[in-house]
Amino acid sequence: MGPLSAPNPPDAGSPALRASDEAADHGFFATRIDALINWGRKNSLWPMPLGLSCCGIELMAMIGPKFDISRFGAEAARFSPRQCDLLVVAGTLTWKMAAAARLVYDQMPEPKWVIAMGVCSSSGGMYDSYAVVQGVDSILPVDVYVPGCPPRPDAVIDAILKLQTKIARERPLAYLLAGPGVSDERGSGELTYQPNAAVPKSVHDLHPHDPRARRG
C-alpha cells in the first residue's frame, strides 16, 4: 500500500500542504478524490479468469501461493463477471468463443479493464487460421498485452502492475461529472475480422498447392 500521491505535489511551504500537515496531526489526511478512487480501484482488481487454453494454467499458478497476486490485491478471482473488473483473456480465442467472450465483458460492471495474456490473445499467435480471432483487440478494448507462449506468471504480474500505473493516471471524477454524453472507448461489441497484417496475402497463400502459384 503506497502513499497517496497527487501528480503535481504542491511546494513544501505552500498553504495547502501546511493545512494537510495540521490535519494529519488530528488523524485526518487530505488528498484529491481522483487519487483516492484510483488508489482503491488499482489495489483491489478482481480478475475474471477467462482461461481458454494453456495460458489458463499459468494464470492459476499466478493466483496460487508461489507467485501470489494477493500481494497486489488482485487475488479475488471470481467466476461471475458481475463481480469482476479485470478481464484476463488467457489463451486462444476462436470465433465460436468470441461472442461469449464479448458477452462476459459486457456483463462486467464499470469500471473494467482487459489484459490480453499470451500471443494468441494478443495477435492470434501461431494460429494464422480461419477459426481464430487475430487478436482479441478485434472485439475487446485491451489495456495491457502480455507476450509469451504462455507467459510466465511474473510477466502477468508485471502486466497487472503496469495496469495499476495506468489506472493511477485515470480521472474518474471528471468522467463521473461529465455526464452520460461522455463515454470511454469500450468498442462497439461487433465481432469484426481483422486479418493479421504481417502475413502477406498472395496467390500462393490463397492456393498453396496450385503449381502455377509456386514460388521459385
Binding site: A99, D128, S129, A131, G189, T192, D205
Partner: protein, 173 residues
C-alpha cells in the same frame, strides 16, 4: 509391422470384392477399394472379419488429382486386437455410401467429413455441418481454401446479433 494373419483374414472376408493391398504404413494393414464396392466391403468386414468398431472416418484432399478426394476408414477389431485402414477415391461430384447403419458412431465423423471437405454421404440420416456455422458455404480443409479463412466473422456476427435480440430487444443493434 502389418500382421500377415490380419491381411489373410481381411482378404478372406473380401473374397469376390475387388480390392488392392497397399504397403502397410505405421504397422496398419492398408487396402485400396473402389467406391462402387465400398459398402459391400465394409459390410463384409463388419460381419465376416470381426471389425466391430469404426475408429475413424476421414478424408484427404488430393488437390489437382482426379478423383480429388480420398476417403479413409479405420476399423478396429476388439476380438482379434487388430486394425485395418481402407482408402477409397471419391470424386468431387460423387457421394460416398454411409456406414452409419453398420457403425452408428461413425455419424459424427461423417458429418465432420462433410463439414470440412464437402463430401456427401448417401443414406446418412442427419448430414449437416458439425463445427462451422450451418450457412457457411465453404469447406475449410480443402486445399484451395485460404488459410486465413473467408469472412470467418460474418456468420458469427449475425448469430450473435440475433441472440442478443432475444435477450434485450430494446438494445438490439
Amino acid at each position: 509391422m502389418a500382421d500377415t494373419a490380419t491381411i489373410e483374414r481381411v482378404r478372406a472376408a473380401l473374397a469376390g470384392i475387388e480390392h488392392q493391398v497397399l504397403a502397410p504404413r505405421d504397422g496398419m494393414p492398408s487396402l485400396a477399394l473402389l467406391l462402387s464396392n465400398l459398402k459391400d466391403a465394409l459390410r463384409a468386414l463388419r460381419s465376416r472379419a470381426g471389425f466391430e468398431t469404426a475408429t475413424f472416418v476421414t478424408a484427404v484432399d488430393r488437390y489437382g488429382k482426379t478423383p480429388r478426394f480420398e476417403l479413409v476408414h479405420q476399423l478396429l477389431s476388439l476380438t482379434h486386437n487388430d486394425r485395418v485402414r481402407l482408402h477409397t477415391a471419391v470424386g468431387e461430384n460423387e457421394s460416398a455410401p454411409t456406414c452409419t447403419d453398420l457403425w452408428p458412431g461413425a455419424a459424427y465423423m461423417e458429418r465432420e467429413c462433410f463439414d470440412m471437405f464437402g463430401l456427401r454421404f448417401s443414406g446418412h440420416a442427419g448430414l449437416k455441418r458439425l463445427l462451422m456455422p450451418e450457412e457457411y458455404g465453404h469447406h475449410p480443409l480443402r486445399k484451395d481454401f485460404p488459410h486465413q479463412g473467408i469472412e470467418p466473422d460474418r456468420l458469427y456476427r449475425e448469430w450473435d446479433r440475433e441472440r442478443r435480440k432475444d435477450w434485450h430487444p430494446e438494445a438490439a443493434r
